[in-house]
Point group: C2
Chain length 146, copies 2
């Protein structure tokens, strides 16, 4: 690198660059599932919260109601998610058998992906991150919709 970049001493910048590296690695790991990161996270939240609504998934993932629509839509088209009407305005979301298989596969891939980084960091530094990052998030928790 021929140029200096004093942003390197900024926490926000370091966070963004580190996050980008992990996201790129995750994308590679998930590439042949043909699922976007936002779709995978949605799949996993539905997996562990059967009969949740898509607004609830959005709240858990900080994705706005309006932006959940195409995500759920695509997951249903692909036969990974099912939904049934609850009360005429809300739906209960569940995974199909295929969705469960896909979720299991995704989790295994995420495990490998995470392992690569936590091993690199070592237990102490990894735990320090798990203590610090929620502090940053709590500073101003992302309010979805509102």
């Amino acid at each position: 690198m021929t140029l200096t970049n004093s942003l390197e001493s900024r926490l926000g910048y370091q966070l963004r660059r580190a996050s980008a590296v992990m996201m790129a690695d995750l994308s590679r790991e998930l590439a042949d599932l043909d699922l976007r990161p936002a779709e995978v996270t949605t799949l996993l939240v539905i997996a562990e919260n059967p009969d949740c609504s898509q607004t609830e998934v959005g709240q858990a993932l900080a994705i706005k109601r309006a932006n959940m629509v195409p995500i759920i839509s695509r997951l249903m088209e692909r036969g990974l998610v099912d939904r049934r009407r609850l009360d005429g305005r809300s739906h209960a979301l569940t995974l199909t058998d295929e969705g469960r298989k896909m979720a299991d596969d995704a989790v295994a891939r995420i495990d490998r992906h995470e392992m690569r980084f936590t091993e690199l960091l070592g237990r102490v530094d990894a735990q320090a991150l798990f203590r610090s990052l929620p502090v940053i998030r709590a500073a101003r928790e992302v309010e979805v919709d509102g």
Copy 2:
């Protein structure tokens, strides 16, 4: 939060959420400058590397050559950046007087923004982050262009 979300125990997910919180805070802090985050970072790199090329800026910030074009273009339109031909295919970028004022203002805002979070974390945790985050980045450094 009514739903469980086991992604909370994932480093990549925590990084992404924490980064989003800081980015949102920074955007608020920079809002009335009418500069996007990518434009501000570009401005600051040019400030400390007068006569650099836009490809070099891109390398420092992990922004691809093609994506630097509209950034530099807008900064010049706004009278913040000047460039002069070097050798017929590359330019030397500098800040105008107005660009320097803007850069100083931006740095002051970023200082305030960063302070909010580093104070929240405390010196020990902040330093732990500055040690760990570059380790994550180094895992697979983002190759720009290539």
